[in-house]
């Protein structure tokens, strides 16, 4: 099969073009010798099936950033028929450096001048003929966002593929020699690009004067984040509830009657293990879909880079950048999509550190536990104070973690970001983006979550003749074993079994407590009031807040980072921190009261 690689600098509309060409049919796959997954799709051009591969955006063929190395390794190992080089027509003064470097590889090239609509508005005129002569490949103008020129692009691809039917390998020598292209670049730019010397202040400049204002910028940022948060979870939560409702009905109306005649242990495995495991995976899908749709809007609009500009002063001291802060804030709704959202960061060290702090964000599932226990144990006057201090604890735990691990997950890349002009997002592809994220979550994390739920089911149900989650099960035995560890925190064996359930999903902690105490959900509040004083309850809440992200978050961390080590660290470190925090609180509170 023929193969075309799509290359370009960041912010050239490369992905928009890729989506235009291939639609929703693209899939993520790995390539031998290349460490990250690449998006690719099959496309019929003329009479030939062509595999189109989307390479990460990069600035320099000879650079050593992670994305640059991915591109290099791909070109070194994979032969291609054509390179499709996408350039931003407004920035040819520097972007032409890329085709000049790629020319040395000796692989046929097609050059696309994207965003011609914006360039036209700026009064930039380009002599495509001169570029063709200098770069040795056809040059076409298009606007991928509006689909103008797309037919011509397909035509030129078809024709070029006919002319170059054989796969060719890039010349290895070209990667090593750092050609002095600066003079060549200057000559080419002055010969082929004419742009007005004085640009009128654009709409972006005017907007930036407000949005990046020294004193208004940050308040507006927090307002934007609040609105984004409300939008994501305002839309996502009802969908998530609807999904749970649907799953509940399937469980009581179909799965339970169907398995009624089965032996008890097998029925429990099917209903409480397998079905609930798959259900856990499914309830995340609506929120991931909505999250990626709205995050794509923020990213496409150009505001995300501005958020980095506004918050970097604080975040750089913690070894993070502003984009990490956005994801941390989004984690307060649900950690899982926030973990997946760290893809916008290109440095793997920065991503790893961000994934380590997101689980401390007090997500909506944990909030249910907090609110329930606080309402049961604290007076109405103290309840808001208790909740507020837990939110505070969440931030302190995250920043402390970033501070402690900033050396280990060090970002080698300096903060050097483009501030693209504000653009309206390409609505057409928002659906494609979120569908892709959902598919990746299912493939990457789904299996892990189901296995984890099955494991906890086994722990809390074996041996099968014991009462579920009771002291005679494996979980009860484990709780007994852990008693010396949890006793100094004021957490008794029964509560620690609930914590084991909480590892699966924090939503089920309250339900699990009801089962463990052997009461109905409506009586649980009274039982908690009777059995726990506020110090014990608050210690339990601190532990619940910090101890471990839920199974789905761990699964997302593993699937996003491709590192078991990081997933293990993201489980072990919060456990340690939770124990230390609860211990300090419980012992201090007991000593003082």
């Amino acid at each position: 099969m023929k193969r075309v690689a799509v290359l370009g600098m960041p912010n050239t509309g490369k992905s928009t073009l890729f989506n235009r060409l291939t639609g929703a049919g693209a899939h993520v796959g790995n390539w031998p010798g290349v460490t990250v997954d690449l998006l690719s799709a099959k496309l019929l051009l003329g009479d030939a099936m062509v595999e189109v591969v989307d390479l990460p955006g990069f600035y320099n063929l000879h650079g050593f950033s992670e994305d640059e190395q991915v591109v290099r390794r791909f070109l070194e190992t994979q032969p291609v028929n054509l390179l499709l080089v996408v350039l931003n027509s407004c920035q040819l003064d520097r972007q032409l450096a890329l085709p000049l470097q790629l020319k040395e590889l000796g692989v046929p090239m097609v050059i696309l001048l994207n965003m011609t609509d914006e360039a036209g508005r700026l009064g930039i005129r380009i002599d495509a003929g001169k570029l063709e002569a200098a770069l040795g490949g056809p040059v076409r103008a298009l606007s991928a966002k509006f689909g103008q020129g797309l037919v011509e692009v397909k035509d030129v691809l078809t024709q070029q593929l006919r002319e170059h039917p054989k796969l060719s390998q890039a010349k290895p020598a070209a990667f090593d020699q750092d050609v002095r292209i600066e003079q060549e670049l200057d000559a080419l730019v002055s010969a082929s690009v004419a742009s007005p010397i004085h640009l009128p202040p654009s709409a972006t400049d005017k907007l930036d004067r407000v949005l990046l204002h020294p004193w208004l910028g940050l308040p507006i940022f927090f307002l934007m984040m609040f609105l984004l948060f409300q939008a994501i979870y305002g839309l996502g939560s009802p969908l998530q509830d609807a999904m749970s409702w649907l799953l509940d009905h399937i469980k009581t109306d179909a799965v339970e009657p169907f398995t009624a005649a089965w032996p008890a242990a097998l029925r429990s495995l099917a209903v409480d293990g397998l079905f609930d495991g798959i259900g856990t995976v499914l309830t995340f899908l609506p929120i991931i879909a909505v999250f990626f749709m709205l995050m794509a809007i923020i990213e496409d609009s150009g505001y995300l880079a501005r958020a980095a500009f506004l918050t970097d002063a604080l975040m750089s001291r913690l070894g993070l950048d502003g984009r990490a802060f956005v994801m941390q804030l989004m984690g307060f709704g649900c950690n899982v999509p926030a973990i997946m959202g760290t893809r916008i960061m290109r440095s793997s060290g920065l991503r790893a550190l961000t994934m380590l702090i997101i689980p401390f964000s007090l997500c909506s599932a944990r909030l249910q536990v907090m609110v329930f226990v606080i309402a049961a144990v604290f007076s109405p006057r103290m309840a808001p104070v208790a909740l507020f201090t837990l939110y505070l604890t969440s931030f302190v735990a995250a920043f402390l973690t970033a501070f402690l691990f900033r050396k280990r997950y060090h970002s080698h890349e300096p903060l050097l970001l483009e501030l693209p002009p504000y653009r309206l997002p390409t609505w057409r592809f928002l659906g494609v983006e979120s569908w892709r994220a959902v598919k990746q979550f299912l493939a990457g994390a789904g299996g892990f979550i189901v296995v984890g739920v099955l494991l906890v089911w086994f722990m809390t149900h074996f041996p099968f003749d014991a009462a579920p989650a009771g002291p005679d099960t494996l979980a009860g035995g484990l709780a007994e074993l852990m008693r010396p560890i949890f006793a100094p925190l004021g957490i008794d064996a029964l509560l620690s079994i609930a914590l084991l359930f909480g590892f699966v999903a924090k939503e089920i902690v309250i339900g699990a407590l009801a089962v463990i105490y052997g009461v109905g959900p409506d009586q649980l509040s009274g039982v908690l009031t009777a059995r726990l004083d506020w110090v014990q309850a608050y210690s339990f809440l601190i532990f619940t807040l910090i101890y471990t992200p839920c199974l789905s978050t761990v699964a997302a961390i593993r699937s996003e980072s491709k590192s078991w080590r990081l997933a293990l660290l993201a489980t072990a470190w919060p456990l340690t921190l939770a124990w230390a925090a609860s211990f300090l609180f419980y012992q201090a509170a007991r000593a003082l009261t």
Binding site: F58, D93, A313, L415, L416, L419
Partner: protein, 74 residues
């Protein structure tokens, strides 16, 4: 003088870049090369990054990194 010392709205021509080859290439990819004119747009408060304009591109970079770029004010 260095790039971080330019005040907002001031322009300068890049005279020297004191950085490793890797960072220099990255800067070059973003249009920051010797002899190129840059304009400072604004500084972020609390000693945060600065926004500069090179040709048709707006960039943000930390002031600590900008301190490695020598400019001649114009």
């Amino acid at each position: 003088m260095t790039l971080n010392q330019l005040s907002p709205n001031a322009c300068g021509v890049i005279e020297a870049i004191h950085a490793g080859q890797d960072l220099r290439r990255r800067l070059c990819g973003l249009g920051l090369r010797l002899g190129i004119r840059v304009r400072v747009i604004r500084h972020s408060p609390l000693n945060g990054p600065m926004q500069i304009r090179v040709g048709h591109t707006d960039l943000i970079l930390r002031r600590s990194e900008a301190a490695n770029i020598d400019v001649i004010p114009t």
